[in-house]
Structures are given as structure tokens and as C-alpha cells.
């Protein structure tokens, strides 16, 4: 009983804050077939938000290791897409 509660609590932990993705959702993506950080990203959007996965990438790698035994050193981070930092839409406006 206590184990189950602990498990539920672990599942509810938010791993990707930007996209609000929980540990449970990431484990679910791995059970569906995701075997890399990018594959988890495609199934959950974890790492696609404002910070581009700065925090959650390592956490997701950890979960992949726990769930399917992929060593951390084999897990490459997902592609980072420009812009590196959020940029105001208006920054692109024509001057004058």
C-alpha cells in the first residue's frame, strides 16, 4: 500500500517544467517504445519548451537508464533548435 502511494507520488513529479510533463508520462512514453531523449521528446513534448531541455534532459536520461538500462553515456541530448534564448517577435520588425 505504502509502495503504491510512493509510486503514484513519483509518477506525479514534474520532470519538464516548461511543458509540464510528469515522470509518469515519460515512463509511459518509454513503455510505448521511446529509447532516446529525442524519442521521449517526440512523444511527450518534454524539452520542447522555453528552456530547450536544460534541466529535464539529464532527468530523462536517468529515467531511461532506470527503465530500460540504457547507459547515460549512450544517451545524446535531443537537437537544440534556434533561437537559443527566447526572442521577442518584435525584435524582427523593420526599423523606422
Amino acid at each position: 500500500m505504502r509502495d503504491q502511494t510512493a509510486k503514484d507520488e513519483a509518477s506525479a513529479i514534474v520532470i519538464c517544467r516548461c511543458e509540464e510533463i510528469t515522470r509518469g508520462e515519460i515512463v509511459d512514453a518509454i513503455r510505448r517504445g521511446a529509447r532516446s531523449i529525442a524519442a521521449v521528446k517526440r512523444r511527450t513534448s518534454a524539452g520542447m519548451g522555453l528552456c530547450h531541455g536544460r534541466t529535464c534532459t539529464r532527468l530523462i536520461a536517468e529515467i531511461l537508464r532506470e527503465e530500460v538500462g540504457i547507459p547515460m553515456e549512450e544517451l545524446k541530448p535531443a537537437t537544440v533548435r534556434p533561437p537559443v534564448r527566447p526572442i521577442l517577435v518584435s525584435a524582427f520588425e523593420e526599423e523606422g
Binding site: E19, G33, A34, A38, S45, M48, P83, L88, V89, F92
Partner: protein
């Protein structure tokens, strides 16, 4: 990590883990054909199927009525697929095509063409300025066509959900596995060679999108597919709804083709807000075969978006991401589907131009039925490879 041993012999090998390959794997498995292997060079949805504008649209159908059956079957499936696959694929309707005063007549003609094709109930002309009531945050041309069942899906969730479900039903999915050759004997395909070993198969399906010509070359076919680069930028998540419809073209290029006559970048306005709140701001198109996002494209997209959705400037909205993909463009803009004369067992499932997400599922249903019934031809003549008779 230890990779699982490859299956040595199977009934159907599908090369390519994008929307074409994943749809077909699922449509076969759903019909009980599970002796199927899907081989993907990278991972599921790694290329164009995972990085496109995610539109469910059929703007081009009056120009290309042969595509209607594919679109129609996809539209029948979309409302049911989230439940079937156990995953929200993000289907959201409708699609709006805004029209200027000058384009109004063309729009009416267009809706009439749909009626003649037996597809009338899916479309309606909007009354003048009705569109502004539907999209109060956008500056749109005053007229419009409402495409009731068009809109958007989340292409990443959708493509991976199909592939994952196919795997759950028994299809073998080998990712990070590259096809290096195909062996044929006496006019039949016999096996594929991969960097992990060989797999014998009765059918080999080419579902490789922009890379389909490479697979074609392995069996001596010249597949006339060229690439067109498309770029999109993504905003931060917005709690407010800026764009209500599933997908919007603010000024329609109705009945205009996507030919890139000048060979330079074109920026078309195309907008949607995903369920999670981010805006997709599209799109640019230009000839090209790399997937780098350019500053030039970001700038063009942002400038156009400010004109169409002024609120994004007033509310200090940020751009947080961007991506590029490659359309697989065919000379007549029709997909290439079905068997190939003179090479039994080799099946085309490629050349979807800019409509793979909207039509790939319907095409997969036709192909799965064809394989199930052991038919030797594809029912839609205009989409067969044999139309390029000079390419054998």
C-alpha cells in the same frame, strides 16, 4: 545497448518510419497482418513527419481530384484515431481559408467543385466579415471558405502513436537500422540488406519521403522526387487563445500551385495554435535539401505574423523555437502509390508533397487492403508509378 536480433523472413517490409510507413504498419496490423517489419534509418518521426506544419487541408484537391479518396478516408479516421491508438493525436478543426474580394468568385467555384466531387458538406462559403467574428485577434481578408473537417493534428504524437500501436499489435519496428541494398530475382523483390543483416520478404514498401529515390535506385528505378525546404517558427505557450480555428491561411493562394518558379524563398502566412498553447507561425518554402533554419526565414515569418496577429507584438510574445523540413515533391504534385510494373512485390508509398499528414492514413488503408487481397494494382490510376513511363 544490445540490439534485438532481426527477423530473418517476413511478409511485408516497410522502409521508412514517417507518417507513410507508420500508417501502413498500423493499417496492416489492424487487419490482422502482423508479419510485418518496419525499418527506420533514424527513429520514428525523425524527419518531415515530425517537423511540418501539421495541417489537415485539402486546398489543392480541386486541382488534383485523384487525391480526394485519400483525404476522405483520412478525415473519416481522424475523429476515431485518438481513442483507437490510446493517445491524443491533437486533431482540431476547422480550417479557414480567408479570401480577398477579388478571390471570392474563385472561392465559390472552388466550393462548387467540391460539391461536384461529392464532398460538398465539408465546405461552406462564409458571409462577408463572418470570418472576423471567428478570429477576432487576426487581420484577415473579409471573405472565406470554412473547411469543417480540416484543421490540425500534432504530427509527432500522431506519427509515433501509429508506429507504437503497430509495434504493440506485433509489427517489428527496427529503428537506427539502415537499408543498404535490395535483392531482386526474376522480376520479384526477395530481400532487403540492412547494416544489421538481411531480411527476406514478399513485399518491400518504399515509404522514404524525400529519400525515396535512394531506395528506388537500389532496384533500378528513377523516382522523380525533388526536395523543397519548409521552415516554421514556434512561439512560447500562450494561456490565451490567439487563434481559434485549427489552421488558418489569412490570404488564400487559392487554386495557385506551389511551383517555385524563381527558385527563391517564399513566405506564405499559415497559422495555428496548438492545444498546449504555442503558436505555429509558418511557412517559408524554397528549393533546398538541408534542414537549417535561416535568419532570413525567421525574420520573414515574424514580420508577416505581426501584421496578421498584431497582438503578438502588443503582448510581447516570444519566439522560442523553429524547425525546417523537406517536402518530397513530385513533378505533377501527386503522391506515388501502389505496385510497380515489372517488379513484383515492390510497393510505392511516397511523394506526398505537402499533404502527407492529411492523406497518408487514407493511402495506407488503400495499400493495406491491396496487400490483404493480394491485388496487383492500385485502384487510383493517376497515383501509380507507371505514369512516369520514361523512368523505368
Amino acid at each position: 545497448m544490445l540490439k534485438e536480433e532481426l527477423k530473418r523472413r517476413t511478409e511485408v517490409v516497410i522502409i521508412g518510419g514517417g507518417i507513410a510507413g507508420c500508417s501502413l504498419a498500423y493499417c496492416l496490423a489492424k487487419r490482422g497482418i502482423t508479419d510485418v517489419v518496419l525499418v527506420e534509418r533514424k527513429e520514428l518521426a525523425s524527419e518531415s513527419s515530425g517537423a511540418n506544419f501539421a495541417s489537415v487541408m485539402c486546398t489543392m484537391i480541386p486541382l488534383r481530384p485523384a487525391l480526394l479518396p485519400l483525404y476522405s478516408r483520412s478525415l473519416d479516421a481522424f475523429p476515431k484515431l485518438s481513442e483507437e491508438l490510446g493517445r491524443d493525436i491533437g486533431y482540431k478543426t476547422p480550417r479557414l481559408n480567408a479570401l480577398t474580394e477579388e478571390a471570392y468568385e474563385a472561392g465559390e467555384k472552388y466550393v462548387k467543385q467540391f460539391e461536384e466531387l461529392g464532398f460538398g458538406n465539408g465546405f461552406r462559403m462564409l458571409a462577408k466579415n463572418e470570418i472576423n467574428g471567428m478570429e477576432p485577434n487576426m487581420v484577415l481578408a473579409p471573405h472565406g471558405i470554412l473547411d469543417l473537417r480540416g484543421g490540425q493534428v500534432n504530427p509527432l504524437y500522431y506519427t509515433t502513436a501509429l508506429g507504437d500501436k503497430a509495434r504493440e499489435l506485433g509489427v517489428k519496428v527496427y529503428e537506427n537500422t539502415e537499408v543498404v541494398g535490395i535483392r531482386c530475382e526474376k522480376g520479384h523483390v526477395r530481400l532487403i540488406a540492412t547494416d544489421r543483416g538481411e531480411i527476406e520478404s514478399t513485399y518491400v514498401v518504399n515509404a522514404c519521403g524525400a529519400w525515396a529515390p535512394r531506395i528506388g535506385a537500389m532496384v533500378g528505378l528513377r523516382i522523380p522526387i525533388e526536395t523543397l525546404k519548409c521552415q516554421v517558427v514556434v512561439s512560447e505557450k500562450l494561456t490565451e487563445t490567439y487563434v481559434h480555428s485549427g489552421s488558418i491561411t489569412p490570404i488564400s493562394y487559392l487554386l495557385a500551385d506551389m511551383d517555385q518558379s524563381e527558385g527563391r524563398m517564399h513566405c506564405f502566412g499559415l497559422y495555428k495554435q496548438l492545444k498546449k498553447g504555442e503558436l505555429l507561425i509558418g511557412i517559408t518554402e524554397e528549393p533546398g535539401n538541408d534542414k537549417w533554419v535561416t535568419f532570413e526565414a525567421m525574420e520573414a515569418l515574424a514580420r508577416k505574423a505581426i501584421k496578421i496577429i498584431p497582438k503578438i507584438k502588443d503582448q510581447n510574445v516570444h519566439i522560442i523555437s523553429s524547425y525546417a523540413n523537406l517536402y518530397a515533391v513530385t513533378p505533377d504534385r501527386h503522391a506515388i502509390l501502389g505496385p510497380v510494373d515489372g517488379l513484383q512485390g515492390f510497393i510505392m508509398n511516397c511523394g506526398y508533397n505537402d499533404y502527407g499528414i492529411g492523406t497518408g492514413y487514407g493511402a495506407a488503408e488503400f495499400l493495406a487492403e491491396m496487400i490483404l487481397n493480394d491485388e496487383k494494382s492500385f485502384p487510383i490510376e493517376e497515383l501509380r508509378f507507371s505514369r512516369f513511363s520514361s523512368y523505368h
